[in-house]
Symmetry: C2
Subunit: 335 residues, 2 copies
DNA sequence: CTGAAAGCGCTTACAG
DNA sequence: CTGAAAGCGCTTACAG
C-alpha cells in the first residue's frame, strides 16, 4: 500500500479556490465566511477525505492532545482498571484527546519527557514514588479516588462512595447471621482501601466487635491472599470476609474450601470490587459494582472541565460515582 | 501551581549564546558544532530542564509519535492484553512513541481521525468490522497473531507457537491417563484459536478420536463457558478439557465441581492462556504461558523496524515468541 | 564550524 | 466578507 500522503488544508483551499484562512474558518464553523463558501469548502473537504493534521493543530494551540493515565502497579488481573481506562478513552474523544498509559519504571528523567495536557491517576498509592514526580510536572491532575497526600494539589477528584457500600455489605453480613466479619486489604495503602478499612473499624466499634484486618500485597496477591485467609480461618471465629479486590476473592473461596467451610452458608464472602468473573464462580460472589467505565468517563470529563479553566487547586472539582452492591450466593447466609 | 511554560530551544540557544540551529545540532548529537559548544549547550539544557517539544518535532518530521493498539472486544478480564499492552508501551519508549488504545465503537468517520504512525492489532478476529477499516487507513500494521484474512497486507506479524503448546498439552493429558479430551474455544473466530482447534483436530485424528469442540462467546464468556462445560460433562465420556481463555477456565472448574468431578484426577483441565489467577485456584490450573509482555515488546520492535523501512507487504517481517506450558495440579492425573 | 532562512500544517489577529 | 502575514517549536539544507 503506497503511503498516500494525507490531504492538507492547503489542498482543500486550492480546490475550493479560497485562501487557507477562509478554508480554516469554514471548517471550524467560525464566522467570517459566506454560507455559500462554507458549504463548498465542507463538501470539498469531505470529498478529499480531509482530516486536519492534529499535530499541527496541537502545535498551534500549544497543547499536546494527550492525556496520561497512571495506574497502580501490578493490577493486570483487575478488570476494573481496564474498564476505567476505556471509560477515559470514550470521554477523551469528545475533546479530541488521545489517552496513553504511563509505564511504571519511569525515572525522573524519562518522566520529564512525558508531554501531556493532563494526568489522570487511578487509585494513587501512598508508597508510589512516581506520584510526587508526576505531580511535580505541573500538569493538571485529576485523581480517581483520593490522593494519598491530601495536600497534593489536584485540579479535580472523582470518588466512589466506599463508606456507603462497605456499611451496606457489613449490615448485610450481619442480617445474614455473621457475627465476626474480617477484611483483607491491599498492603499497598490506597485511600479508597483505607476508607473501607476505616468504615469497617467504625462499624465494628459501634458493635463492640474486634476488627480483624489482614493485608495482601498486590504483587503476588493470589499467594498472599491465600496465606492471610488461612490466618483468618485458623482463628476459628471469623464467619465473613470482605476481600477488597476482585482477584483475591477467588483465593478466599479456594482457601475456604480447604478448611471445609461452605461459602454462603457458614462463611460469607464479598468483594469490594466487582468483576465479570464473580458472577460465575461457585458460589457467585457478592460484590460492589463500582461502575468503572462510568468512573473513567467521569474522571475525563472533570479533566476536560479543568482544561477549560474550571476549578483551581484551592477549589478542586469533585464528583462522585454511584456504586451498587450486587448480591449473590456467597452472602446468602444459613437461613 | 502556576502553569510554568516549558523551556524552548530558543531559550537554551540564547543562554548558550548560539543560534537555535547550533543548539539543535548540539542536542541531537549531530556534526557541525564544536565539542566545547556542544557540552555547553548540553549543560545549559540540563540546567534549564529543557525537553524538546514533541509536537513540534513530530510536525517537523511529519510523524505523529503515536502507535495505536487495537484489542479484541470484551477482553477486560483477560490479563493477557493488559500485559501485552504494557509490553508495547515499554518498547515504544525506545522510539519515542506513545501508545494509545483504539476504542471499539469507532465509526468509519471517527477512524479517519485516528492519526498514528502505525497500528498493532492483537488477536484480530474474523467478524470484527473495524479491522478492514483500520487496514484501509494505509498505516503500517503489525498483527499480534495472524490476520483473519491472510491476504491482508500487514507489514509485520508476531506469533506464538500454539501448535507446539497444544500438542504438548494434549500429549500431557494422554500420558496422565485422559482418553477423551475436549476443547472450549471462543466463538469469535481468531486465527490463534483456530490454530489450537486445528491442532486439536489433527491430534484426535491421528489417534482415531472424535473431536469434541464447544464454543463460548467472549461477551458473557463466564455464562457461556458454564453452559458448554455442562454440555461436555453431560456426555459422560469427556475426561479432559482445554479452555482457550484464562477467565473461562475458572468456570470449567466450577461446573466440574457441580458434576462431582475432581479436577486433576478424573477430569483434567488446562488453559491455553496463563494468568496470575491460575496458579492459585483449587486446584491450580495448568496453562500455557504466552509471555504477553515479551509478545507486546516484540510487536512494537517489529513495528519499529517497519517504520525504519524494513519489510514490505510482499515480504512482511515475522517473529515468533516462545511459549511454555506451566504444569499445575489440574492435570496431575489419577496416578 | 556557525548563522539566517525556509518550512512542517495549522489558526488567528490584522488589514483591506 | 476575504487575503496576506505571522507564528506555534522544531530541524535541516544552504550559504558563509
Amino acid at each position: 500500500m503506497p503511503k498516500k500522503s494525507p490531504v492538507t488544508l492547503k489542498q482543500v483551499a486550492e480546490r475550493a479556490e479560497v485562501s487557507r484562512a477562509a478554508a480554516s474558518f469554514a471548517l471550524s464553523g467560525r464566522q467570517g465566511v459566506s454560507e455559500e463558501t462554507r458549504s463548498r469548502v465542507l463538501r470539498i473537504a469531505e470529498e478529499l477525505g480531509y482530516s486536519p493534521n492534529q499535530t499541527a493543530q496541537n502545535l498551534r494551540s500549544s497543547r499536546t492532545g494527550v492525556i496520561a493515565v497512571y495506574l497502580p502497579k501490578d493490577v493486570s488481573t483487575l478488570s476494573y482498571y481496564m474498564e476505567a481506562t476505556f471509560g477515559i478513552i470514550d470521554e477523551a474523544e469528545q475533546s479530541d484527546h488521545i489517552v496513553t498509559l504511563v509505564p511504571h519504571h519511569r525515572t525522573v528523567k524519562s518522566l520529564g519527557r512525558l508531554h501531556a495536557d493532563g494526568i489522570i491517576m487511578l487509585d494513587p498509592t501512598f508508597e508510589d514514588p512516581s506520584i510526587p514526580r508526576l505531580l511535580g510536572l505541573g500538569l493538571p491532575v485529576v485523581s480517581g479516588e483520593e490522593m494519598p497526600d491530601p495536600s497534593a494539589e489536584v485540579a479535580g477528584q472523582v470518588t466512589s462512595d466506599h463508606v456507603g457500600s462497605t456499611v451496606e455489605l457489613l449490615d448485610h453480613f450481619e442480617s445474614a447471621g455473621a457475627r465476626c466479619p474480617a477484611i483483607i486489604a491491599p498492603r499497598e495503602r490506597m485511600p479508597w482501601a483505607m476508607s473501607v478499612e476505616d468504615t469497617y473499624r467504625r462499624w465494628c466499634e459501634d458493635r463492640g466487635l474486634t476488627p480483624r484486618i489482614e493485608y495482601a500485597a498486590l504483587a503476588g496477591i493470589e499467594e498472599s491472599t491465600r496465606r492471610v485467609t488461612r490466618t483468618l480461618l485458623d482463628s476459628g471465629s471469623v464467619d465473613a470476609i470482605i476481600a477488597l479486590t476482585d482477584g483475591s476473592v477467588l483465593n478466599v473461596l479456594t482457601s475456604a474450601a480447604e478448611y471445609g467451610r461452605t461459602v454462603g452458608r457458614d462463611l460469607l464472602v464479598a468483594a469490594a470490587v466487582d468483576s465479570p468473573l464473580l458472577g460465575y464462580t461457585d458460589p457467585a460472589v457478592t460484590a460492589v459494582d463500582l461502575r468503572p467505565r462510568e468512573f473513567g468517563r467521569t474522571c475525563m470529563s472533570v479533566l476536560n472541565r479543568v482544561l477549560e479553566g474550571e476549578g483551581s487547586p484551592q477549589e478542586p472539582l469533585a464528583e462522585a460515582v454511584e456504586t451498587t452492591v450486587v448480591y449473590r450466593a456467597s452472602t446468602a447466609g444459613a437461613r
